[in-house]
């Protein structure tokens, strides 16, 4: 109640706009003057965006190659079916590019029906370990179970189901010209997010030790052929937890069908200065990743990009459809308004 004021009107409530609910206010109404222009405007915006996006998308090129059983890979596919999974298998798939890919060309691998989005799978990782915490290196989080320790009780680094199931096929792309095949140079670095590479994933501090020494006392994940400190034999700085392929893999896909970046065309030399020229290509695959257990498929995707990302037909079409629907609604509203509401006859009491 506060202070008690003296006088005959002591209990009179304050005459403030707030207490008397008379705050100045804007009370908008959905009137024809505001709604109809808004609808036409939205339809126009969506239409313009849609057309723009569509034109942009038309200029991109994309090629998908399902190599699960393509070419010589059906042999490898069979091989992965049986127990001798550790045996290496190399196969080749060929494809043809009819129209040259101009500009930057991106090489993706794709997986169909691989569920990176299962709750237990997604949780099965230790971010603290991968950011280089020493404690977690030797004693991984229990979330990693059962991939936290190997049969001998040695801690696994990196632990967990996500790291364990890393996609381990590797690709060599060749351009087949009349004078033989030219290896297409792919940049395999800088394919992950800056924040991931520099903040989310760090190696344990080395303190004058080599990387293998740091990782001493840990075991590689069960399905890995190489230890984590030896993932990229060519570049020492691309090893350990900050290996680009590992980082890309560790960013779990939201849906069971996904494609992840493998490399970017290095446009330093001819004939790839302007992208990928038309012609025949072959891709040599070190075929390691088994997909038949879960009825999955594997593919490689080559694509050029636009200002809003890769080839994406959904957005322009969705915008165009939305614009048409809004326009339709706007016209219907206008008709109804003209017929029934225009003169405000409904508004009369």
């Amino acid at each position: 109640m506060g202070k008690v004021k003296p006088g005959p009107l002591a209990r009179r409530p304050d005459n403030s706009a707030f207490k008397q609910q008379r705050l100045p206010a804007w009370s908008p109404m959905l009137t024809a003057n505001s709604v109809l222009p808004f609808f036409y405007f939205m339809a126009l915006i969506c239409m313009l965006l849609g057309v723009w996006l569509l034109l942009t998308v038309q200029s991109t090129e994309e090629l998908k190659l399902d190599y699960t059983e393509a070419g010589t890979c059906n042999l490898c596919f069979e091989k992965r079916n049986v127990s001798n999974a550790a045996q290496p298998c190399i196969c080749t798939a060929v494809f043809n590019i009819k129209k040259a890919f101009k500009g930057d060309v991106f090489f993706y691998y794709g997986l169909i029906n691989f569920h990176q989005n299962l709750r237990r799978y997604m949780d099965s990782r230790d971010d603290a370990q991968m950011v280089g915490r020493k404690n977690n290196l030797k004693s991984p989080s229990s979330y990693c179970m059962p991939f936290d320790k190997d049969k001998n009780g040695v801690p696994i680094a990196p632990c967990g189901a996500v790291a364990n199931s890393i996609f381990n096929d590797s690709f060599t792309l060749s351009y087949m010209t009349s004078s033989g095949s030219v290896r297409v140079p792919l940049l395999r670095k800088g394919i992950s997010w800056y924040t991931d590479k520099n903040i989310k994933y760090r190696n344990p501090s080395t303190e004058n030790m080599t990387l293998p020494q740091v990782f001493e006392g840990t075991a590689p994940p069960l399905y890995w052929q190489k230890p984590v400190y030896d993932l990229d034999p060519l570049d020492k700085n691309n090893n350990g937890f900050i290996n680009d392929d590992l980082i890309v893999w560790m960013r779990e896909a939201a849906f069971p069908n996904f494609k992840k970046l493998y490399g970017v065309l290095h446009r330093a030399n001819k004939p790839f200065m302007n992208g990928l020229p038309a012609g025949n290509y072959s891709v040599e695959i070190s075929y390691n990743f088994p997909v038949q257990y879960f009825r999955g498929r594997k593919e490689v995707v080559l694509t050029t990009l636009t200002w809003f990302g890769g080839q994406n037909h959904f957005l322009p079409i969705a915008y165009l459809v939305t614009s048409c629907l809004i326009l339709l609604i706007a016209i219907l509203l206008t008709v109804f308004w003209f017929k029934f509401g225009k003169n405000g006859q409904n508004m009369e009491e």
């Binding site: 009107l9 209990r11 009179r12 409530p13 005459n15 207490k19 705050l23 100045p24 206010a25 804007w26 009370s27 109404m29 959905l30 024809a32 939205m42 969506c46 965006l49 996006l53 930057d104 991106f106 569920h115 990176q116 989005n117 299962l118 709750r119 237990r120 799978y121 230790d126 971010d127 950011v131 915490r133 059962p146 199931s165 992950s192 991931d196 903040i199 989310k200 960013r251 779990e252 939201a254 849906f255 069971p256 996904f258 970046l261 970017v264 257990y293 879960f294 694509t303 200002w307 809003f308 990302g309 890769g310 994406n312 959904f314 957005l315 939305t322 609604i329 509203l333 509401g341 508004m347």
Partner: protein, 1000 residues
């Protein structure tokens, strides 16, 4: 004094008119009955002291026993909310079951094969067990559809609404320095749904002040004011009062505006003089002259006080009385009349007379009473005057004034002697005394000469007719439940326009037996239904076929009113008749129950509550209203003169009946409107928020993976979206308060539960579900093919989570923007603030620093930075927001254009009139032109004449005696009405004379 006794009495009960007990005092037994009992709240008068003993105290008093139980009150929205929460829970279980089955199937077909990469947990033996676990996981994840914060928010809103009621200046009464008070904070929105108002009369509708307003003397009316053009003018504050200063004993509180009457008195017109002489002589008022010239009248009924005061001001001052004499001061001369007999008032006779002998020896009988009765007793020679007076009386009745006709008769000395002897012998008879006396009275009160008529205004509280008219327009049915007499109650009914002369019929139910009452109720109902059937269909069927009269309620065009007295009500409330009563009452526009006990008031309320699914409101000011205030859904107490009991039992209290209009039409309507919009939005928001998980389940192997970040789930309801909707729930106004009052029909949707009901709930969940599916599937379709501008991978779960969360926050914020009708600064602040807070928290939680400190708690590091810098993500967010918002907008636009509700129309008008000032509507007090009913009403009791002639209540005559314990409730209330006949003094404080009700 040594007083050592023992009382043995009945256990505490609620019967006000019965008491039995025995007092054992020094070997002697004294029976105790009702006459020896003082009820709680009584005030002793005319005695300096008395002995007493407290028999019942506190909760055991008869008054408290009448109060009824205090029940826990909840609003219908509350009950609906509880039902809906149960439904939502069932829905949650269903979703859990669907997803659990999905999980079982998925694990059987796909997950089994995925074990290479993700083996089952040790304890997980089969796909079915996995489904079972998934069920519980999903119950936990989807529990956000069950709005826990809903209950808290609803309480906050109600508290806010209560404060707005407390703060409302227009419900503050400056004369009494009382502000309106919401004493319960949980019932506000129910105020917007009231269908039945049960009102007390005295102190609630009326001020319990009687004012001598007009009179008709010898065929001439006085009391109207004429302006210079001889036109009848309105009496306003500015009209000049008649100056009574010629009379040293005049009462300053008395106001009269017609100067002609004083002129007539000054001219010593004998008829005028006789008129006021009668008023000064024929009554049972007790004078009290504490100092010379300072007269205070203690009248048993305020009407009488007003009449005697009028006589006093016009120069016929009633000064003292003894059992045998009355002394007047007639125009300055002291005249003592010998009081020969008082022919007492009772409800059958409807008149009282006195027989006095003036100093000249002339014996005169003065009589006042109901016009219908007095006119029958008149001398035939008076016929012309009778017709004129009767016309005047009709005029008075038309204005809702209470009338009394006055007549006199000069008596022959011999005739009187004989009559007096008969009277004395009759009064000593034991058997049939009453009847014999009545016959004798009848005998002498013949051949009277008409003097004129008085018209007294039972002063209504300010704005009562307007309030009632306004509430009736809002389809609120008002029942008056009063302890007063039939005539008084009806009179008030007329003066506040609840009863009108143009009504087809006013049914008066006053049977004494069950059968009589049944007969009367049936015939009344048959009459209503029969008439309407004839007028509507024409076929004649038995009215019994329509026992369920409510069906026909709507079709009755004719207006009826029902007046029922407490005695009949007791019968009518019996189980076999209550349906007939209720049907009949609901067919009538107006229902007045008179002479009802406090318990009966509660029973009537209970009856309506039980059989009509309607919200009831009881309003009263006295202790006698406590039970009905407690029984009704909402109890309103008038914090007036009658003490605090009603206020203490009430849910809302204010000083004047007229504030009820603002409480219901403005605060109640707003509260209901806000609460409904709030609930609508709240359920929508939670469904849109939560069901995204459900859709995601179909793509993540039903593994109970959440779409959003844990932190977003935690903060969404309490930080990101709570404040805008709270601001809407607190401040929203669809139409302004002036328009709410101006168009009472705006109140009707609340009574019909239109703003939030099961259908509305279904619609809002439907919108929520469709929003959630759009929120999920549009990003899904976009993300399946999306990469970042630099080609790197972007369609991962974290980005997906941030995109959907951002779209969701934007969509629900836009939606609250569309739902808000009244954008105050606070709304702007909260709406924009919420968006800003969302983005700030988003970036803060996904910052490097947070990740560095709590690595495993914030795995989303950098996601917001990476994805919200992408044009494609914004394209997705824009598309999602547009698609989610546009349909709802189109629908609401079309609804307003094609099927505008009254609210929309008023809003429309309001938009155009914004610049113009508020237009106060004044409902003019409609005068009824022709009236052929008696407006007689006199709240008088029998038994006072006897008291005066016996001298029992004369302090002066027996100064040494202890006197009889007087029993005086603070006004003429129910307690008196309960008591058929009293021999003890009961002087009612007469407020018109300004006598304070004080205990010695």
């Amino acid at each position: 004094m040594d007083f050592d006794g023992e009382v043995i009495c009945e256990p505490p009960n609620n019967k006000l008119d019965k008491f039995t007990g025995t007092l054992h005092l020094r070997d002697s037994k004294h029976p105790l009955d009702n006459e020896n009992l003082l009820l709680r709240g009584c005030v002793l008068r005319n005695t300096e002291w008395c002995f007493g003993m407290v028999i019942f105290a506190g909760l055991q008093t008869k008054l408290m026993q009448n109060c009824g139980r205090t029940t826990f009150k909840r609003t219908s929205i509350d009950k609906l909310m509880n039902t809906l929460v149960l439904w939502i829970f069932a829905f949650l279980i269903c979703m859990g079951v669907v997803l659990a089955i999905g999980n079982t199937l998925w694990e059987t077909w796909t997950g089994r094969n995925f074990q290479v990469f993700l083996p089952w947990d040790d304890f997980q033996s089969s796909a079915v067990f996995s489904g079972f676990l998934t069920f519980w996981s999903y119950i936990i994840i989807l529990n956000t559809v069950m709005p826990i914060s809903l209950y808290v928010s609803v309480e906050v809103l109600r508290l806010g609404h209560s404060y707005f009621i407390n703060w409302d200046q227009r419900m503050y009464h400056s004369q009494t320095n009382t502000a309106a008070e919401a004493r319960t904070t949980t019932l506000n929105e129910e105020l917007g749904q009231v269908e039945y108002v049960f009102s007390d009369k005295t102190g609630t509708l009326t001020q319990n002040i009687m004012v001598f307003k007009k009179c008709s003397i010898n065929g001439q009316t006085y009391g109207d004011v004429y302006d210079e053009f001889k036109q009848k003018g309105e009496i306003t504050e500015k009209t000049d009062c008649v100056d009574f200063s010629f009379n040293p004993l005049y009462d300053r509180g008395f106001k009269f505006y017609d100067g002609r009457l004083v002129e007539a008195i000054k001219l010593e017109d004998p008829v005028e003089q006789d008129f006021f002489r009668l008023l000064a002589l024929c009554h049972t008022v007790m004078p009290e002259e504490k100092s010379e010239g300072h007269l205070v009248y203690q009248a048993q009924s305020p009407d009488e006080g007003a009449l005697v005061t009028a006589a006093r001001n016009f120069g016929f001052v009633f000064r003292t009385r003894t059992p045998e004499t009355i002394t007047l001061c007639e125009l300055g001369r002291a005249v003592t009349y010998q009081l020969l007999a008082i022919l007492d008032f009772n409800n059958v006779r409807k008149r009282m007379s006195v027989i006095v002998r003036n100093p000249q020896g002339q014996i005169t009988l003065y009589s006042k009473g109901a016009d219908t009765i007095i006119f029958d007793l008149l001398d035939p020679s008076n016929e012309d005057l009778m017709y004129t007076t009767s016309e005047h009386l009709n005029g008075f009745a038309g204005e809702g004034l209470r009338t009394l006709a006055l007549a006199y008769k000069d008596l022959d000395e011999d005739y009187f002697e004989i009559w007096m002897k008969k009277l004395i012998s009759a009064s000593t008879v034991i058997e049939n005394r009453e009847d014999q006396l009545a016959v004798l009275y009848e005998e002498i009160e013949q051949g009277l000469k008409l003097l004129g008529a008085t018209a007294i205004e039972d002063k209504l509280q300010d704005g009562v007719p307007e309030t009632i008219a306004s509430l009736v327009l809002a389809d609120i049915k008002i029942w008056v439940l009063t302890g007063d007499k039939l005539e008084t109650a009806m009179n008030i009914g007329y003066s506040c326009h609840m009863l009108r002369d143009d009504m087809n019929e006013v049914f008066v139910i006053s049977g004494h037996t069950l059968l009589e009452v049944q007969q009367q109720l049936r015939s009344a109902k048959e009459q209503i239904l029969g008439l309407s059937r004839v007028s509507s269909a024409g076929d004649v069927e038995k009215a019994e076929m329509f026992a369920d009269g409510s069906v026909y309620e709507e079709t009755i065009i004719a207006e009826y009113a029902l007046v029922i007295n407490g005695h009949s009500l007791a019968h009518a409330m019996e189980p076999q008749l209550e349906h007939v009563l209720l049907d009949l009452a609901c067919l009538c526009k107006t229902v007045i129950c008179c002479r009802v006990t406090p318990m009966q008031k509660a029973q009537v309320v209970e009856l309506v509550k039980r059989h009509k699914r309607a919200v009831t409101l009881a309003i009263g000011d006295g202790a006698n209203d406590v039970s009905m205030i407690k029984t009704a859904h909402i109890g309103v107490g008038i914090s007036g003169q009658e003490g605090m009991q009603a206020v203490l039992a009430s849910d809302y209290s204010f000083a004047q009946f007229r504030y009820l209009r603002r409480l219901l039409l403005v605060h109640g309507r707003w509260s209901y409107f806000r609460m409904c919009n709030f609930l609508w939005y709240f359920f929508y928001k939670n469904f849109a928020f939560t069901l995204v998980h459900f859709w995601y389940g179909f793509f993540c192997g039903f593994s109970a993976q959440t779409v959003y970040d844990q932190w977003f789930i935690t903060l969404f309801n309490i930080v990101y979206t709570s404040l805008p909707v709270l601001a809407m729930g607190l401040f929203d106004q669809d139409v302004s308060d002036q328009n709410s009052l101006h168009y009472p029909s705006l109140y009707k949707p609340g009574q019909q539960n239109l703003f939030f009901n099961k259908r509305q709930f279904f619609l809002c969940t439907l919108q929520g579900v469709s929003t959630s599916s759009l929120l999920f599937f549009i990003p899904y379709a976009a993300f399946s093919v999306m990469v970042k501008e630099d080609g790197s991978y972007i369609s991962d779960q974290h980005v997906f989570a941030v995109t959907i969360a951002t779209s969701l926050v934007i969509v629900v914020t836009v939606q609250i923007g569309l739902d808000t009708h009244y954008w105050t600064v606070v709304n702007h602040f909260f709406v924009w603030g919420s968006l800003i807070v969302y983005f700030s928290i988003l970036f803060a939680m996904q910052s490097d620093g947070m990740f560095g400190i709590f690595t495993s708690s914030f795995p989303f590091v950098g996601t917001a930075r990476n994805c919200l810098s992408e044009k494609s993500v914004w394209l997705v967010i824009l598309l999602t927001s547009v698609v989610c918002v546009v349909p709802g907008m189109a629908v609401s636009f079309l609804r307003v254009e094609l099927f505008p509700t009254l609210t929309d129309k008023v809003r429309h008008v309001q938009q155009f009139r914004k610049r113009q000032g508020p237009q106060e509507q004044s409902l003019r007090r409609v005068r009824r032109t022709s009236s052929h009913r008696s407006a007689y009403a006199f709240s008088h009791q029998q038994g006072y004449g006897e008291l005066i002639t016996s001298g029992k209540n004369m302090k002066m005559s027996t100064p040494s005696s202890t006197g009889s314990p007087g029993r005086t409730p603070q006004s003429s209330t129910w307690i008196e009405n309960m008591l058929k006949r009293k021999n003890t003094v009961s002087c009612v404080s007469d407020e018109s004379t300004g006598a304070p009700a004080k205990t010695d």
